[in-house]
Structures are given as C-alpha cells and as structure tokens.
C-alpha cells in the first residue's frame, strides 16, 4: 500500500450568489476524481496551469480544506485536519514577521517536541538552520532577509518538524532566478539526507524535472483531471548543467510542454482513466552533498516554461 494516497478526490465550490447560471447546479467543479499514490521517500511534483486546482489539492492533503468527495490516506490513516506529520512550505513563506529566523524555526521544533528542554530545542533549531546555510541570519527578522533566505527559513522550519510528508506549494515562485537554482539544489540535498516523502506543486517544468522522481500532470480546470504521471528517469545527482543537454531531459520537457499546451486549448476533462500509475518504483540514488552547477548557469537555464505556453 502506498504511503500517501489520494483517493478519487474531487472538489466543488459553491458558485457565488448572483453568478448563478440558469438551469445549472450552483456548484463549480475544480477537479474531479484525482488519484495519486506516493511511495515512502518519493518526490512527486504536480504540474498544471494556474487555476487547475493544484494548490487546492495540496491544501486538501495538508488538511486546510476538505475534499468534496474521496479522501486522502497517509500511512494508513485518513487525513482530516492539519497536523505535524504534514508540513507545508508556502509560496508566501508564511514566516511570523515578529519572530527572528531562529524563533520561527524554534516555534516549530518546540511544537514537534513538547517534552524537550530548552537547550535541546535550541540545539535542534541550530542544527536545521545550519543545514539550510542560515548561519549569521538567525537573529534577523524575516523583513530583513531576501526572498531566498526567507524560504530557507521556511524549509528549515518544515524539515525541523520531521514530518511524514513535506508539501511544497510553489515554494520558489517568489524567489529571484539566480537564487532559485541554489535553493533547489539545497532542497535536493536535504531531501536526500532526510529521505522525506515530498509532494510539490509548481508550474515550472524545469524545476519539476530537476527535482522529481515522478511528475503528475493536470489538465486545465474547471473539472480538471489528473491524467498522467510521468517518470523522470534521469540519474541523480542531477544538475541543470549536465541535465539540459540529455535526450531524456529534452524528451520529457517537450512532452510536458505539449501536454500543457493541449490542456490550455481544449479541456480534456472527459479523459476516461485517471492514470496515476502505481507499482514498483526505484529509489533514488543518494546525491552528493555539494551543489555542483554554478549559479550563473542556473540563472540562464531557469526559464519559466509554463508562461511561454
């Protein structure tokens, strides 16, 4: 059985009063019958256009929202409320602006380990801040940190809780292109070291290929469907430099872009089978700890592909 499984989840929103279409139900279907299964330690990314309900699905997994039909099962238990076993990394960072970087992470460590004494909490907080390269920024308030540094704090906070699943909601969308690549590599490094299960939502195809084991593709909304899951058979460790010239990378990228373009023209909502593929699944090979690609190369290669569609 899968570690995290999304079982035939649909989401309906009531249509706002005044906008009711004559003779139609006053509900709006965001997505329907989404099925997705993640093995333990797997990194799966959901790619789709804005408005297809990617973030809504992530919110349902996080427990912020309830599925209209279907449900989410994590490690044999149904997800109903937000909890410490599913930490979210927000696009908006969601750091408490009145707390320093250190206190933001400490708040999470203390919540995850209520029985620890102060010294131990402090030690653990330092450990995760150091892992994300935040030495020297501990006492700064988020307002004084760059977007990249803020998301490092966000990642440190999420990892520090040691959740069963890490949910990343377009975590790099608000970070400048130069920094994005560096943090992506750091995320991979942390993920390799901790072997977390990660579910990420993004509209950046390059980012998805660089980071994921599998990429789930969602058609356009309304009534969006998760129609395909693409395996990323690129060897790890991956770096943009070495990756972008490989045939497999180009094939994948073109495939996904074609899918997104198709999806943007006509709704393929009545696709018969929800095609989340399950089955034997190869564990990723461990990554070396040092980021290899140079910052400039990544900047050149960071193209926000979905916007070009």
């Amino acid at each position: 059985m899968a570690f995290l499984s999304v079982e035939r989840v649909s989401k309906y929103f009531p249509i706002l009063a005044g906008a009711t279409a004559r003779g139609r139900e006053a509900v709006f279907c965001v997505f329907k019958d989404v099925e997705l299964r993640l093995a333990k330690g797997e990194f799966v990314t959901l790619v789709g256009h804005s408005g297809c309900g990617k973030s809504t699905l992530l919110n349902i997994i996080a427990g912020f929202e309830q599925a209209s039909t279907g449900g989410v099962i994590l490690d044999g238990k149904e997800v109903t409320d937000p909890s410490l076993d599913r930490m979210v990394v927000f696009q908006s960072f969601a750091l408490m602006p009145w707390l320093s970087a250190f206190d933001n992470v400490r708040l999470a460590v203390r919540a995850a380990h209520p029985r620890w004494d102060k010294a131990r909490v402090r030690e653990e907080t330092h450990r995760y801040l150091d892992m994300m390269g935040l030495q020297g920024a501990e006492s700064k308030k988020p307002a004084l940190l760059s977007g990249g540094m803020r998301q490092r704090v966000g990642l440190a906070r999420a990892f520090a809780v040691q959740p069963k699943v890490l949910l990343l909601d377009e975590p790099f969308a608000q970070i400048d292109a130069l920094t994005r690549g560096v943090i992506q590599e750091e995320l991979v490094r942390m993920w390799t070291a901790t072997q977390h299960t990660v579910f990420m939502v993004t509209h950046d195809v390059d980012e998805a290929i660089l980071l994921s084991d599998r990429i789930a593709l969602m058609t356009n909304g309304p009534e969006a469907r998760l129609t395909e899951c693409v395996e990323v058979n690129l060897p790890r460790p991956r770096s943009r430099e070495t990756m972008i010239d490989t045939v497999e990378y180009i094939r994948l990228r073109n495939y996904i872009l074609h899918f997104l373009m198709r999806g943007s023209r006509a709704p393929t909502a009545h696709d018969p089978q929800p095609a989340a593929r399950q089955g034997p699944w190869a564990q990723a090979t461990p990554l070396s700890a040092t980021p290899s690609a140079s910052v400039l190369d990544q900047a050149e290669n960071t193209v926000n592909t979905s916007r070009t569609v």
Binding site: L84, S92, W98, A111, K141
Partner: protein, 300 residues
C-alpha cells in the same frame, strides 16, 4: 582627504525643531502683546475720579505719590508671565496639603494619573479580551456588533449619573467613566486586527497543532498587536478627554478639577496653568505609548 563627512542630524529633524521653537516663541510673544496693559495715565482724570478708582482697587499710589495700575487686580486674560509665576509658586511646594481642596500640584497629578491608570488598564484588559473573542468568531462578531454600535457613540460622561447612582462613590464613578471612555476603540480595533490576521499564520499554527492558548499567545496576539496598540492609543486619548470633566463634575481632586478650583477662585492664570499641566501629563503618557508601539510593530 578621506576623512568621513561629519554626521549631522537629518535636515528634516533640524528644521522641525527650529519651526517648533519659533512657533512657541511667536505664540508666547503674541500672547504677551495681547495681554499687556498700558501704563496707567492719570491725565484728564479729576482727583475725585482718581480717589474712586483707588478706592475700587483699580489703581494704587506708589511711595513717591504717583498712581499706577494695581498689579494685584487682574483684568482680562493674564499674560504668560503671570502663568509662569503661578507655575513657579505651585512647583515650589508640590506636595503641600492646606485643607480639603488645596493640595499641591504633585498630589493632584498623582490623583489623576492613578485614577486614569486604574480605569484605562482595566478597560484595556477587558476590551482586548472581548475583541479577541469576537475577532475570532464571525458568528459572535455579528451577534455582538449591534450592541457595540449602540454603546460606542454614547459619551462616557452620559453614564456618570447612572454610575454614581449605582456605585454611590465618586472615586469609583470617576474611574468607571475613564473605563467606559477607553473601552470601545480598543474593542473595535482588536476585533478588526484579530479577524484580519493573514491566513498563512493561522495555517502554520494549525500545522504545528498549537493549543488554543498557544495559538492565541504565539500567533494571534503578536500578529494583531500593532492594530491593538493603535486602538489602545485612541482609547487613551478619549479617556484623557473624559477624565477632566469627570473630575470637575464629581469634585474629585486632580489636575482636571484644578481648573474648576481656579475658576472658583477667579484665578485665571491658575486655570491656564492647570490646562497646561493636563496637556503636559498627556504628552508624557503618550510618549510611553510610543515606546510600546515600537516594541510590538513589525514589518512584513
């Protein structure tokens, strides 16, 4: 050659001081000019008239036989010098007690500040609690809003007869008037601040499974703190406005009542002095608020 340029105050800061001081100087000068009395000129007055004026105390005869205006008898508004003299006299013995109504200015300030502090602080605690509760629950907010809207515009002084009748003690009545005056702005601002907290902060709180109390102390209150302090500040102003008439009407000794005492003495310089003291006490207390506001504000 590479010596760093001398550090100077920002120009705006320098200029604002210069403008403030010169406005004060011009104001005091105009006040002085408007209130200065011309020297008494006896020309054209008969000896009879002069005698009558002396008898009335309008003029006095000096040792060398000339008539001058009586410096003891004040006509019109006293000038700045009279107020300064009054202030010097009052601050010379700030803690005297010469009878029921004649307490030193130090005592009067203490009475007012104590009365104010008790009313304001207790109202703030109550108001923040109410504000948090209705800010967190949309249902309660809607249920209580009509009551708040009706009660809010009522002048705190309008409560006074009822309060006096109920608690039957002027000291407590004055405190309760201050309480009523400082309640509503804080309630309204706290409810607003709490209900408009950014959703992500609350989502983080729920991810971390913080208890209701932890969530309140670690997330809700700090997030709403700037708005709450803004509300406290409005309350503070309205309470300071209410404390003066409350003291006057109830005959409770304090800087507010001092203006009334001086009016009863027909001592206009004393009234002006009392007004200035109220203003200065307000400024000092407000400076404390500035500090508090700086402690809790954050930039996103």
């Amino acid at each position: 050659m590479d010596a760093p340029p001398p550090i100077r105050l920002p120009q705006a800061q320098q200029r604002s001081w210069i403008i403030s001081l010169s406005l004060l100087g011009v104001g005091v000068l105009l006040w002085h000019l408007a209130t200065v009395r011309p020297a008494f000129d006896p020309q054209g007055l008969t000896a009879d008239q002069l005698q009558k004026m002396e008898f009335n105390g309008d003029i006095v005869r000096t040792d060398d036989g000339r008539y001058i205006s009586n410096p003891e008898k004040v006509q019109g508004i006293p000038g700045p010098w009279a107020v300064v003299k009054k202030a010097v006299a009052e601050f010379a013995e700030p803690f005297h007690k010469k009878g029921a109504n004649d307490h030193g200015i130090g005592h009067l300030i203490r009475y007012t500040v104590t009365r104010f502090a008790v009313g304001f602080l207790s109202a703030s605690v109550v108001a923040v609690l109410i504000g948090v509760v209705i800010g967190l629950s949309r249902t309660l907010y809607r249920a209580l809003n009509p009551f708040i809207q009706v009660l809010k515009p009522i002048s705190p002084l309008a409560w006074m007869p009822l309060l006096l009748y109920t608690v039957q003690h002027p000291t407590w009545t004055a405190i309760l008037v201050v309480f009523m005056a400082s309640l509503w702005p804080t309630v309204a601002n706290t409810a607003f601040g709490v209900s408009t907290i950014r959703k992500d902060y609350l989502q983080v709180a729920s991810l971390l499974q913080l208890s209701w109390f932890q969530r309140l102390v670690r997330v809700v209150l700090p997030a709403a703190a700037p708005t709450i302090v803004a509300g406290l500040r409005i309350s503070f102003g309205s309470a300071l406005v209410a404390v003066v008439p409350a003291e006057m009407l109830l005959g409770e000794l304090g800087v507010g009542y001092l203006t009334w005492i001086e009016w009863n003495n027909l001592h206009i310089a004393g009234i002006l002095f009392a007004i200035l003291v109220v203003g200065i006490v307000g400024v000092i207390m407000d400076a404390g608020f500035n500090r508090l506001a700086r402690l809790v504000t954050y930039t996103e």
